[in-house]
Every structure is written in C-alpha cells, then in structure tokens.
C-alpha cells in the first residue's frame, strides 16, 4: 500500500480522549501525530492558594486510575518542602498501597484493555463468550487489588487515609494477616495469568530509545529513588526540571545531539530495562517465561513488563505485610508546621515517573505547583515508534495496519485525563 490515510478519532480502551492521524503518500509518511483532545484541567492553577494539607486531596483527582500515585507524590513534595520524614510504618503502608494500585492498573490494562486485541474483539465483554474463565480470573485478581486498596487507603479509588505526615487510620493487623492469606491463595491464579499471557504473541518490532525511571540501591524503585536514564546516568528528583526540560528542548532543536535521542520512554518496560535485577526472584523467572529479556527495545512488550511487575507487586506486598506485622501497627499522629519552602516528589506511577513540585509560604499556602505526567513524557516516543513502525507494515491489509497502530498506542497504556502537560510537549514538538 503506497498511499494510506487513517484518522482514528477517540481511540478506545485508553483513559481519556486522543486521536491518531497518519498520512502516507508514495510510501512516505507525510503526516503522523497523536492528537490529544481531552479538555485541559488546570490543576496547577487550582492548587494555588490552597492549604498544604488540602493539596494531595486535590491532585488525587487528576486521575482515577493512578490516584494513589498522585496523592503519594504530592505528599512527598510537601513533606520535602517541610523537611518532614515520615515513619517506617507510614512508608511501608504507602508502598503497600502503591503496590495495590500497580496491580489494579496493570491488571485492568493487560486483561481488559489490551487482551481483546489478541482475540480481535472490541472489548473484554466480547471475550466472555469464548474465554469466560479468563475474564473472570482477571476480574477476581483486580478485585483482590481493589480490596487491598480499600484496606489500606479506605476505598478503591481516591484514597482517604493517605495523608501528609501519616495515615489518618491504620489497617488492623488481623485484616492485613487475612489479606496476606488471600494473596497466597491467589498464587495459582497469578500463575494462570502468566500461562495466559504466554499464549498471546505481541507484534515483533524494535526501536531502541532512552529509558527513564527512578532507581534505588535498596529495592526495585516504585515509591522512591533518583531519576535514572539508560543513556546518561542519574539525576536528583530536585533537579527533575533539567531532565524534563532537556527532553523538551531536545525535541525542538539544539540539544537534540546532547542526549543522542529525541524522545524517551517511561513505564513498566523502562523500569524493567533500568532495574530488572532488583525485581522479586519470582518476577524475574516470569520475565524469562514470557520471553522478556533485558534490554528489550520492543514497546509492545510493555504489556509483558506489566505482567512481570504484577507478580513483583504481589510478592512484595506479602513481604511488606510481614514487616508491618512483625513491627506492630500503631495509630500515628504527625506534627507538621508550615514554613516557606520548595519540594519535589518523584514516584513511579503504573505508566511511568511522575513528578510533583510545590512551593509553599509560611502560612502553608501553595504558591507554585507543577505536575509532570508519565503519558506526557511518552507522547513523543509513541510518535517516533509509529514513524518507525508504519513504513514496515504498509504491505499489510488496512485493518491489520490500524490494529498494529492501535495496539502500539495501547501498549503504552496512555492516561490522557492525567496528562495536563501533554499539549505543552506537543507544541514544543511542532
């Protein structure tokens, strides 16, 4: 096919509204863009003047899927500005809650949003007829993660207990112990999940890019760490703006040569490429079983990396619960005093590294807010992947070309409502 034009309006099974426009003439790409048509949200403006105690409650509402990560990241930014260090118990509970969100989000994505593509049906509901047990298994595993979210955070979406300083209410040890047993009992279903994904073959396509994630010498970095680039080393979260700015400027003109690449990838595959050795041993085995080998340059394999991380998060949750139970769980109180300062929080969201920056004044009012969203960081990379992918698949049938394109976009698990910065990146790009 020498000429090919596709305009996919409101790509489905992603979070938020986005369009894909591709125009090929005489085998050459004339135009290729992923348009983001979601209404702008203006969270950075809404946070201004609010109390430092309220802001995480607000930023949670940036995203229904990764509300825990947004809340956590806002809290970390404020605590950093105040020079406050939370207790070990609080950190463990935050990590447990974050694991729950990763499992919720990854299971939603791999079972409900991407798996239907492999069966050539329009939705998970279309899989029910021939694969009901698979669908039910996905639902049961997601329910398990939902319940862990509710146990630690108070509810499935938009956590209540996750507060600056400490949790407003701690889970009861008995409930945590009971939950530990539920995870153990779910292990066979978790293994069946691995077996199921062994049967799904992702398209073969490779394009090496720069991979950015947090990294932490003590663990597979999700809750905390420094920023790691697969190309040029580590950066402190406090200096995140150098890293992100560099990328944005790189995109337009001069600094293109400096990083060597003109876009980067964040998310499960980036984390795997940067930190795979720190995954739970069982998760590393699963990576082998599913053919995910380091370094992996196939963006479709982000789906597989999410399955691998799901295993990691389940196993890590067991360890965290054990640590919490052996140390005893108390109701905590935190004394916080506002003072002028700046703080940056960096956390891994299911879709990649999330940054929140806050400045506050002596009264604890927010005077500056900046939120850098994973999907915004991935957008240029998605477009670059598509530019590389499309010429090689033009021999296929039109429907198959569109399927490959949609599957690639979906593999990144884009979360468009979240991406308050998406359009900014887009404009620098043009």
């Amino acid at each position: 096919m020498h000429d090919f034009h596709v305009g996919i309006e409101h790509i489905t099974r992603v979070e938020g509204h986005g369009n894909i426009v591709i125009d090929v003439k005489d085998g050459k790409i004339k135009e290729l863009r992923m348009e983001i048509v979601e209404s702008p949200r203006f969270f950075e403006a809404m946070a201004l003047g609010r109390s430092y105690r309220e802001v995480a409650h607000i930023t949670s509402r940036i995203c229904g899927i990764c509300a825990v990560t947004h809340t956590t990241t806002s809290i970390k930014a404020i605590e950093s500005a105040l020079g406050f260090a939370p207790s070990e118990q609080t950190i463990r509970l935050r990590k447990l809650l974050l694991n729950a969100e990763f499992i919720q989000s990854h299971i939603l994505h791999v079972y409900f949003l991407t798996a239907p593509d492999f069966f050539r049906v329009g939705s998970v509901f279309g899989m029910v007829k021939d694969n009901k047990e698979t669908v039910l298994r996905g639902m049961r595993l997601k329910s398990l993660a939902n319940d862990l979210c509710a146990l630690v955070g108070g509810r499935h979406i938009h956590p209540i207990t996750l507060k600056i300083g400490c949790f407003s209410k701690s889970p009861r040890p008995d409930d945590l112990a009971a939950f530990r047993e539920r995870i153990i009992k779910a292990r066979p279903e978790i293994q069946e999940t691995v077996e199921f994904f062994k049967t799904l073959k992702n398209p073969e396509f490779e394009r090496e890019t720069e991979y950015i994630s947090l990294t932490n010498p003590d663990e597979y970095a999700l809750y905390d760490g420094v920023i790691k680039s697969s190309d040029d080393g580590n950066t402190s979260p406090d200096d995140y703006i150098d890293r992100v700015k560099e990328f944005m400027v790189t995109h337009s003109t001069a600094k293109h040569a400096k990083s060597g690449k003109d876009s980067y990838m964040v998310g499960a595959l980036a984390r795997f490429n940067n930190n795979h050795e720190q995954l739970h041993p069982r998760a590393r085995e699963v990576a082998d079983e599913l053919g995910l080998k380091h370094p992996c340059y196939n963006p479709y394999m982000n789906n597989v990396a999410q399955v691998v991380e799901t295993i990691h998060c389940f196993e890590d949750s067991i360890n965290l619960i054990d640590e919490l139970l052996s140390n005893g769980i108390e109701e905590e109180k935190a004394e916080l005093t506002p003072k002028t300062g700046r703080g940056v929080g960096a956390t891994e969201a299911p879709r990649g590294t999330l940054y929140h920056e806050h400045k506050i004044d002596d009264d604890g009012k927010i005077t500056y807010a900046n939120y850098i969203i994973p999907t915004g960081q991935n957008l240029a990379n998605i477009e670059n992947d598509l530019r590389s992918l499309v010429p090689g698949i033009l021999h296929k049938e039109r429907d198959d070309i569109i399927m490959d394109i949609e599957m690639l976009v979906r593999a990144y698990d884009p979360c468009i409502s979240c991406a308050t910065h998406l359009m900014k990146v887009k404009f620098v790009n043009e």
């Binding site: 489905t12 702008p40 309220e54 229904g64 509300a67 329910s143 404009f427």
Partner: protein
Amino acid sequence: MTKPRVAFFSFTSCEGCQLVVLTIEEQLLDLLDLIDIVTFREAISEKSEEYDIAFVEGSITRESEIERLKTIRDTASIVIALGACATIGGVNCMKNQYEMKSVQKIVYGEMADNFDTIPARPIEEVVKVDYHIHGCPIDREEFVEVTKSLLLGKKPRIPDYPVCVECQMRENVCLFEKGMVCMGPVTRAGCKAICPTYNDGCTGCRGLIDDPNLSSHKNLLNEHGLSVEEAISQYMLFGENSKDKFK
C-alpha cells in the same frame, strides 16, 4: 423484551467514576444480561449513536462540550449525572474563582490562547438531568442500586439526609469531638460516611442536602472552637459552584 441500550460518556474529569463502574467486576457481567452497553470508550471499542440511557461523567469546561452534551440529551431518554464533576461541578470548579485568561496563562504560558476554557459547571446547567449519582468518586453499590431501579422502571432513591445520619449509624466518634472540621451535617448522605469512618473530615463531595441548616452547622463548629472558614474552604474543593449559599 429488547434490552435497554446504555452508553457512558465522559467530559472534563478523571474518569474515576467510570472506573468505579468497572470495579463492580462480576456483577457487571450479570448486568450485561439485562442491558446492552453500546458506548463506553474507556473499556470497549464498539460505538453507537443509538442509546436509551446515558451515564455522563465530568463537568462542562469548553464550548465544544456543550454541543456534545446536547446531542447526548437529544438522543437518550434518560440522562444520569455520574459523580461530583457532573452533579455539582466538582474539583474543576476551583478554577472558577479566577479569570479564565489567568488560569490559562498559569498552566500554558505564552500558548494560553490555544487552550480555550470556560468556567466549569455541572451538566445540569446545560441540559435537563433525570437522575444524579453523587460523590467523588461514586459509591459502587449506589450505582448498582440506581441502575437496578431504572431497569425495574422505579425512581431511584437518592438520600436527602445528611452524612451525619450514616456516620452515627456506623457508631463513629464525631469528628467535632476530635477537634476536626467536617461538612457531614450539611452534606448529602449515600456514601456511608466513608471519610469520617477513616478519620477524615467530610469535604462535601456529594453536595449539600436540599435544605441544609448552614447556620446550625456554623454554630456547631463555633461551639467546638473550630474554624468556619476552614470548613467552607474544605467545601469549596468540590462545591465552588454553590459558594453563594455560604454568603
């Protein structure tokens, strides 16, 4: 009997309320025996312009959204506002306290003019709404109950009593006694007082009850030495759109 055709739509929101719908998990499959979900962009690829029941999430923040919403109203026989953004305007209304131009400039700088926005509003300010499912996010059991009622042709029961009623039924210690600000006495119940139960003050995400006794709430706060200003500020996280009631 043909199954009712149900569609889900989202406007300016985090799409969390649609996610709550997905968290009913196995019940969702049971529901599919009774209804056809014909449009649900977040979860399914099929799309249809013909539907009977429309669940609408999100508030209206752009001129283009007004037209889209009117088309939905013209098509559906029943429109249900799903979640705080749609029912009361929700967090999006926080920007309404500023000039739109300055909001655009704060976030998009020199490129501000490219991102049009209008003051955020609940969908009822644009079209007639038949039923409201309140909350940020919605309560999944309430969603199931409302949907069941609709299928049975009954009017869904949405509480018009305050969160305090549900809080007392759960035998929670009143947050006022703990020295915490709470909007429970004037906020519509239906959430099972979930925030006070987890030791967090109600911020009024379900909106005010129809006839709130705001002066008595003020007195309660004063009696406990709590800040009325702080309470109102908390309420304005979701309720900026109804701030005139506090004047």
